[in-house]
Symmetry: C2
Subunit: 524 residues, 2 copies
C-alpha cells in the first residue's frame, strides 16, 4: 500500500507561521524587518525564480554569504523549490569553494554583497555554475537578486518528503578533501525537534544567529527556531559589541554560541555596559568548554538557562544535551557539568572498543551514534560512507566515556589524542588543566613528533594581557591536576589562534606547525 | 544508495533507559516496583517467548487487560520481537473483540487476570488465535504468563525502522464495524516527541497512566514518558479515590485525564482530603471540555501547568497543544483558553470547505491534518483509506475554525452537527451553554428527527444532586448566550451517561434513543 503521509519536510514550519502569524515580525537584520507574510512571499518568488532557471527536484543550490536574512530566503526558498542546499564555508579559498561546488555539480550560486568580488574567480574555477545571483553591485553575467525576486512568479511549495535530500554540507576540509555530508529533511527535522522543546514557547521568543549559518549547528538552530515560532535576529558575523547590542536592542531570548565566542563576549571591555538579561537559553557547543570558562560564563549570565550540546555535521548537529537542571550546584559537585549531557530523544549512543564491543561505564572508547538525525552518507564516497556508517552506527571519530547514568564525556578527537611513550594523553584534559591558570587566555594541545617518545605533548598558548608565558609555573600548575606524562613538554606562545569558521581551533594547522619546529621553544 | 540509518523505532528509548538508569525505579503498580534493568530483562524474555511461539516480523499480538505494568511488557516486548500491537478495547463484547482479532489475523493474545474468565468464549469466537497467555488462574490450553516469561530465553532486539508498522488500533466501533488504524513506529514517535518537550525533564518525573492504555492517547503518553526518562505509575482503572491516593503516594508529576475523569475527581467527596500538589503538568483531551468545568479545574489545581491536546487515533493522538502560557488571564480574556491550541511541531492543519479550498480565518470547515504522525491507512480498507487520506491530508470528520493566530476551535463532529430549519447548530456550543447552569452535572446535545424542522435540538442531562430538571430555567439560561434556534426543543434526564471506554459520551446511542422517543419529555 502506498504511504499517503507527508511530513518532516522543512518548509512545514513556514506554512504554519504564514497561516498563524502573517503580520508578526519574522526577521530582523540590522534596520530591516520582515513579517512572516513577507518572508513567505519572498520564498514563493525565489522558488519560482529557481524553477524558471531550470532547477529540478534534488538539484543543488549554493549560497556564499555572511549571516543575514538572505540565509532564511535561501534555506526555505530552495526547499520550497524542491532543491538541496550546498552552503559555502566562507573561510574557504576559491579553490576549496570550487571543489565543493563541482563535486556535487551545483549549478546555481547566490552571493551576497560582501563576497561578490569573488564572483569572477569562482566562475572561472567552477564550470558547473550556470546561474549566479548576487545582492552585490551589478557584475557581468550575474543576475541582480532583488530585482529578479521582484520580477519572479510565486509558485506553490513542491512539498518534499522526509526521506528526500535537504542539504549537502561539505566538512572535513582541515585534513584532505572536504566530503559532502548528505542530510535528509527528516534528519534535520529530528535533530531540531529534539532540542526545540515542545514547540510551546511563550510569545516573544527571539533567536539570534551568531554562528556562521553554513554550519550545521547554526542551521539546526534556525530550524528549531522555526518549529518554536520564534523571531530571527541576524548579525553579519560574530563581533562582540554588535552581538551585545543586538541582544539588548531586540530582547533576544535564545542564543547559540561556541566557547570562543562566549570568551570574546566576557573578555570584551564593554561587556559590563550591556544588559543581556533577556537571554533565557544559551546553547553552547562546537568544541569542549574548559571548566574555567564555563564557571565565568555561569557567573556572568546568572538568569540564562545553560544548555550544552554535542554533535557534528554527520548527525545533523545535536545528539546530546546537558540541560539547565544539569548546571545546578549538584551537577558542579558531581562534575557532571563537565559532560556534554545525555542522548537526545532521537539519538542512541554507544562507547565502542576497537573490536566494536561496548565499553563498560567510565571507560574510554569511540562514540557511536544511531538515530533519525544521522546522515545518509557522503556524496559520491561509498567507501568513506561504509567506513563511517557500520551496521547503522555513525562512527564519530570522537573519543569519550559514558558514566553510569548515561552522561557523555568527550575526551578527544581520535586524531587529537597524543601517544607518548606508550601512554594515551587526551589533549582536552591537558587543555582543561592549562586553562585554569590565570595567565592563560586560550590554549590548544597537540602532538609533536619525537624520536624517543614517538610523540610528545606540545602546548600552544595565547597569554592574557599583563601576564607572561612561564613554562615552569604552568608545568607546576598542571601537575596539581594531571599526571607528569600528560604535562606539556614544550610551549609555544601565539597572539591569536588559527580558527575555523565555526570557531574551532584548527589543531591540524598547529600540528603541522609544531612538526616544523625544532626541539620546542622552551623547557623539555 | 541504501539508507544505513536506523531510527524512530519504539524500543530506542528503552535502550537509553537500560543503559542510563538500570537501577532506577521504572514502574510502580500498586505494591510492585521494577527497575529499568528488570523491565529490560522481562522484555527481552517476552520477545524470546513470542519468537519461540512463531512470531514473525509484522505479526500481530493482542492484549486484553486493565491498566497495569503488564502493558509496558506488552508494548515494548512485542516491538522488541518485531511484532505489531493490536490492543483490545476492554469495553467490547466477545463478538466485537473477536472481530478485531480475526480482521487482522492476530494469532497471539495475552489476557490479564481480570479478563481471564473471557478466554473460553474468545477462543471459540476467534479461530485465528494460536496461543493465549494469561496472568490469571490456570485455564485449559492456556500458558501461564509469568512462568513462561521466567522460562524464556532473552533475545536481542529485532530493531525495527521508522516505516515499519507498530500498531493496529481498532476504532469507530460506535457506528458500523471497527476499522484497524495502522500506525508506524515513526508516526507514534513523532506524535510523542511533539509533546514530550525536549526530553530534558528534571530527575523525579513520574507519569501516572489513568486513561485506558489500549487507547492511542494513553499509549502516546507512555511513549512520551519513555522519551522523557520518566517513571510510570499504573492504576488498574479510573477510580477517583485510588487515583488521588496514587498521585499523593508516588509524587506523580504528569497526568493525562479526559474531562469526564477530571469531573469525577473534582466532584468526589474526598477530593479536599488529598494533596495533589506534586502535579506539574495536567494534559486534558479526548472530548471538548466545557468552559464551566475548565474554570473549576484551573481553580482546583492552581500549581499544575495545564495542557490541552487534540487529536485522534488516525493521527497517533496529539496534533494540537494549548500550553500553560495559553491558560493565563489573557487567554481567558481573549477566549483562547476555549480553543484546543495550535498545531504541534509535527502537524500541519487546514480548515477546508466541502470543495477542498481553505476557509478564511474564523469560518467553520472540516479539520484536515498532514504530518508524520498521520496513519498509514485502515487495515484492508482501501476505499475508507482513500476517503480519509485525500492528497496526503487526513480528513478528520471534525468541524472547526481557526483564528487569525492559528488557534483551533473544535465546533463539532461533522456527524454531531444538527441541521434544524436550514441552520447549522453545533452541539458543542449548546452543551457549553447548558453546562454553565448550576443544575447541570453532565450534558450531551444530539439531533432528534422532526417532521417540520428536519431535525431539532435534543438535550440529554445528568442533573446535580439536590437540583431538579427545569426546562424553562435551562432555556432561559441558554438564551443568554446562544440564539433561540440553537436552544434545546426537548430535554431528557438520565442518571448516568453511556460512555465509551475512553470516557467519551456515546452520542450515537443517545441519538438512537432520541429517535425512538415520542415528541420529547418536555417543552416543545
Amino acid at each position: 500500500m502506498p504511504d499517503a503521509r507527508t511530513g518532516a519536510y522543512l518548509t512545514q514550519p513556514l506554512h504554519r507561521l504564514i497561516r498563524e502569524l502573517p503580520n508578526a515580525i519574522a526577521t530582523v537584520d540590522r534596520g530591516r524587518r520582515r513579517t512572516w507574510a513577507q518572508v513567505g512571499d519572498r520564498i514563493a518568488r525565489l522558488a519560482g525564480l529557481l524553477i524558471d532557471a531550470g532547477l529540478r527536484p534534488g538539484d543543488r543550490v549554493a549560497l556564499l554569504a555572511q549571516n543575514s536574512d538572505l540565509y532564511l530566503d535561501y534555506m526555505l526558498g530552495v526547499w520550497w523549490a524542491g532543491g538541496v542546499l550546498n552552503p559555502v564555508n566562507i573561510r574557504w579559498t576559491v579553490d576549496e569553494i570550487a571543489f565543493s561546488l563541482t563535486d556535487c555539480t551545483t549549478s546555481i550560486l547566490i552571493v551576497d554583497d560582501h563576497f561578490s568580488p569573488m564572483i569572477p574567480a569562482l566562475r572561472a574555477a567552477a564550470p558547473t555554475l550556470r546561474l549566479i545571483l548576487t545582492t552585490g553591485p551589478a557584475a557581468p553575467e550575474c543576475v541582480d537578486y532583488e530585482s529578479a525576486l521582484a520580477a519572479a512568479t510565486p509558485v506553490t511549495d513542491r512539498v518534499r518528503n522526509g526521506e528526500d535530500l535537504a542539504a549537502i554540507l561539505y566538512t572535513g576540509g582541515t585534513t584532505g578533501r572536504p566530503k559532502g555530508v548528505m542530510l535528509t529533511h527528516r534528519a534535520l527535522t529530528a535533530s531540531a525537534m529534539s532540542h526545540a522543546g515542545s514547540g510551546e514557547c511563550a510569545p516573544g521568543a527571539c533567536m539570534m544567529h551568531t554562528a556562521p549559518l553554513f554550519h550545521v549547528g547554526a542551521m539546526a538552530g534556525v530550524i528549531a527556531a522555526l518549529l518554536r515560532r520564534s523571531r530571527h535576529v541576524f548579525v553579519p558575523a560574530f563581533e562582540p559589541e554588535a552581538v551585545m547590542g543586538a541582544i539588548q536592542h531586540n530582547g533576544v531570548t535564545d542564543v547559540f554560541l561556541v566557547p570562543t565566542m562566549i570568551q570574546a563576549l566576557l573578555d570584551h571591555p564593554r561587556f559590563p555596559d550591556h544588559d543581556l538579561s533577556s537571554i533565557e537559553r544559551l546553547i553552547y557547543a562546537a568544541s569542549p568548554i574548559s571548566p574555567a570558562l564555563l564557571d565565568r560564563t555561569v557567573a556572568a549570565m546568572p538568569r540564562a538557562g545553560f544548555v550544552q550540546a554535542y554533535g557534528m555535521t554527520e548527525t545533523s548537529a545535536i545528539v546530546t544535551l546537558l540541560g539547565p537542571s544539569d548546571h545546578d550546584p549538584a551537577a558542579y559537585a558531581s562534575g557532571r557539568v563537565r559532560s556534554v549531557g545525555r542522548a537526545t530523544m532521537s539519538a542512541e549512543l554507544r562507547i565502542a572498543a576497537p573490536d566494536g564491543c561496548d565499553m563498560p561505564p567510565g571507560e574510554a572508547g569511540e562514540i557511536l551514534v544511531r538515530g533519525e538525525s544521522v546522515m545518509t552518507g557522503y556524496w559520491n564516497r561509498p567507501q568513506e560512507t561504509a567506513d563511517a556508517l557500520q551496521a547503522g552506527w555513525m562512527h564519530t571519530g570522537d573519543l569519550g566515556r559514558m558514566d553510569e547514568a548515561g552522561y557523555l564525556y568527550i575526551m578527544d578527537r581520535l586524531k587529537d589524542m597524543i601517544l607518548t611513550g606508550g601512554e594515551n594523553v587526551y589533549s582536552a584534559e591537558v587543555e582543561a588543566a592549562l586553562a585554569s591558570h590565570p595567565s592563560v587566555q586560550q590554549c590548544a594541545v597537540v602532538a609533536r613528533p619525537d624520536e624517543r617518545w614517538g610523540e610528545v605533548v606540545h602546548a600552544v598558548l595565547v597569554i592574557r594581557p599583563g601576564h607572561a608565558l612561564d613554562p615552569q609555573a604552568l608545568t607546576a600548575h598542571c601537575r596539581q591536576s594531571i599526571a607528569g606524562y600528560k604535562c606539556p613538554r614544550s610551549f609555544e606562545q601565539r597572539t591569536v589562534m588559527p580558527l575555523s569558521a565555526a570557531g574551532k581551533i584548527l589543531k591540524a594547522t598547529l600540528r603541522d606547525d609544531a612538526r616544523r619546529l625544532e626541539s620546542g621553544s622552551s623547557s623539555h
